[in-house]
């Protein structure tokens, strides 16, 4: 099983990605997905601008995905992360894990998201509702603690 990793400006379609991942594999009994959306932070934000490090973003998510694939018996694993200007309500990130049983799929998807947040080279900058450009979003200690659960 080779994990699928895509870094793209375009939106993605959860249903289409699940169908593509599960197609032709009747051994899959569980598909878990996580979709991260852009919030408006109580109407404060007009958009989030996502900057990334091309080349390393793909490589780092692929390394984390390979770790997940080594740790759980998975039939399919996918991560899509968008970059560019993303407006409230729009999708930012998608993780899908497929396995014979649900526990492995839940854990692998959770692990992949925790590590993606702390290791994938992406940075968010706020664009405010009044049209001005706000600051860079600060990293959360909670995200580091979430990732440490797995080590």
């Amino acid at each position: 099983m080779t994990p699928v990793v895509r870094i793209q400006r375009e939106d993605f379609d959860l249903g289409a990605e699940v169908a593509a991942l599960a197609r032709g594999d009747a051994d899959i009994g569980a598909v878990v997905s996580f979709t991260g959306l852009c919030r408006d932070e109580s109407c404060r934000l007009a958009a989030l601008e996502l900057e990334h490090y091309p080349g390393m973003a793909e490589a780092e998510i692929a390394r984390v995905a390979a770790e997940a694939a080594a740790r759980w018996p998975l039939s399919g694993l996918l991560a899509i992360h968008r970059f560019g200007l993303i407006r409230p309500g729009e999708q930012i990130v998608l993780v899908i894990a497929a396995s014979s049983h649900r526990r492995e799929a839940f854990e692998a998807a959770d692990f992949l998201m925790d590590y993606l947040k702390t290791r994938a080279p992406f940075w968010k900058r706020e664009h405010l509702a009044d049209g001005s450009i706000g600051g860079w979003v600060e990293a959360k200690a909670d995200d580091d603690r979430a990732a440490e659960r797995w080590s």
Partner: protein, 92 residues
């Protein structure tokens, strides 16, 4: 014989507020001979101007990667082609 071999030119890339403070997205540099680690490279960069000083003001916060792989301050930069500096990541 104590002969220093000049290090080959190195590509540096900067992201998010590190890029804004340095004032460049990328550059080619030739660090002084003997610059062996990420921490030593940062120490040298900080001598190159106010922007660098501001970017690396809090060295413990700025992260580094060598050739697309996360690297600690003590990591050797020998043979590196591209070194990146950036704030803690906020993707996902």
């Amino acid at each position: 014989m104590n002969q220093h071999v000049a290090a080959p030119p190195l590509k540096l890339v900067y992201f998010a507020w590190v890029r804004e403070r340095v004032g460049l997205a990328d550059e080619i540099v030739s660090p002084p001979p003997g610059t062996a680690t990420i921490a030593e490279l940062v120490r040298w960069l900080k001598t190159r101007g106010e922007g660098y000083e501001l970017a690396f003001e809090n060295e413990a916060i700025v992260r580094a990667a060598i050739d697309h792989t996360h690297a600690k301050p003590a990591a050797s930069i020998a043979g590196a082609r591209e070194i990146a500096f950036f704030p803690p990541m906020t993707g996902g």
